[in-house]
């Protein structure tokens, strides 16, 4: 009788674990192309996009400097200005050492974020941040190379009826263009700056 009880309770425990597991994964919701800690060898800074000055830029144009890359869109009222403000503060903190770092903002909403729209927006946060935009197909290819996820979400209560979900972490690449690490967009800028200082100095 005791054995039967143990078996029954075991079944209940397994059932709870399975249901709980589904519940947790349901909460994640978004299909996922990005991982929080992507394997370094799978993340490639590979792009050809137009910057906010109208110049075509590729990843190779930034060899010799660290690239700090942030994906977003300018109609974003919360995450993107916060992320750009964080990067701008990091660059302020770095001062002259910031010469070794090129912050890049790549739009995931090129339909609205043309280079001229970016020119009107990105430099307001900091003069060193370069906004990049490309046609849909190039944007998709770029995101794929960077292992960055984005998706258009219909939302009646948003401008033009949609917002963009997107990877909000910053991606850091070394002067050889190799992926190094990510930083969360809302991390204290001084933490990012001191991490960068150590890397630039070493």
């Amino acid at each position: 009788m005791t054995n039967v009880r143990i078996i029954l309770w075991s079944i209940v425990a397994v059932a709870i674990a399975i249901v709980g597991g589904f519940w947790i994964s349901e909460r994640g919701q978004l299909p996922v192309a990005a991982t929080r800690l992507p394997a370094a060898e799978t993340v490639l800074a590979d792009f050809e996009l137009t910057d906010h000055n109208g110049m075509v830029q590729t990843d190779e144009d930034f060899r010799g400097r660290w690239m700090l890359v942030f994906f977003g869109f300018t109609n974003c009222p919360d995450v993107c200005p916060m992320g750009l403000a964080t990067i701008a503060q990091v660059m302020d903190d770095l001062g002259a050492e910031g010469e070794a770092v090129q912050p890049l903002f790549i739009t995931v909403d090129p339909e609205r974020d043309t280079p001229s729209v970016l020119a009107n927006y990105i430099p307001q946060f900091g003069p060193s941040i370069l906004g990049l935009s490309g046609p849909q197909e190039q944007t998709q290819q770029t995101a794929k190379a960077f292992k960055v996820y984005y998706q258009r979400n219909e939302d009646e209560s948003a401008p033009d009826g949609y917002t963009m979900g997107h990877t909000s972490s910053f991606l850091l690449f070394d002067p050889q263009g190799e992926f190094v690490r990510i930083y969360e967009y809302d991390l204290d800028p001084s933490q990012i700056a001191s991490d960068l200082q150590q890397r630039i100095g070493s």
Binding site: V32, V79, Q89, Q124, F125, S157, T167, Y185
Partner: protein
């Protein structure tokens, strides 16, 4: 100079808090008292993109209160959204719906979480200026808040 600015800002927050404290006694429902703290908005560039505003709401009454929406003359379409970031570092925004402010608790609208989205701006949000908005709560409670506009690169109420 920075110190003086900060001091002034703290003073103005103090004033705002004083002005924004609303108490109302309701029959059978206990006291409603919501304190608004540290409202701020980020400066906008023109009016084509949505502005963002933030604040904290402390429930000092003895009944739960829900923040249900807002009105602001500066925006023809104002609503509250929530940023959600999943384990993979992917962020997205969803309409917030009614948000509870539990008794004795604080509801923080802050970057990366709940935020006020000011769409169809009627005029730009200019650094150094203020604008009024009216927060709408459950049971018809309304609180008017004067929101200071900080620089576009502000990361919190301290700038």
């Amino acid at each position: 100079m920075r110190h003086i600015t900060n001091t002034l800002r703290c003073l103005s927050f103090g004033l705002l808090m004083g002005l924004s404290t609303v108490s109302a006694a309701q029959e059978n429902a206990g006291d409603i008292k919501i304190v608004v703290e540290q409202p701020w908005a980020r400066a906008s560039i023109g009016t084509s993109r949505p502005g963002g505003a933030y604040l904290a709401l402390r429930n000092e009454g003895d009944v739960p209160v829900y923040l249900v929406g807002l009105r602001a003359d500066i925006s023809a379409m104002a609503s509250i959204h929530e940023t959600q970031t999943n384990d993979e570092g992917v962020s997205r925004m969803v309409p917030a719906g009614d948000i509870e402010i539990p008794v004795g608790g604080t509801l923080a609208l802050e970057p990366g979480s709940y935020h006020i989205m000011l769409m169809k701006l009627q005029s730009p949000l200019v650094e150094g200026e203020t604008f009024p908005m009216t927060l709408l709560f459950s049971d018809g409670l309304e609180i008017e808040v004067v929101v200071p506009v900080l620089r576009i690169g502000a990361r919190g109420p301290e700038g």
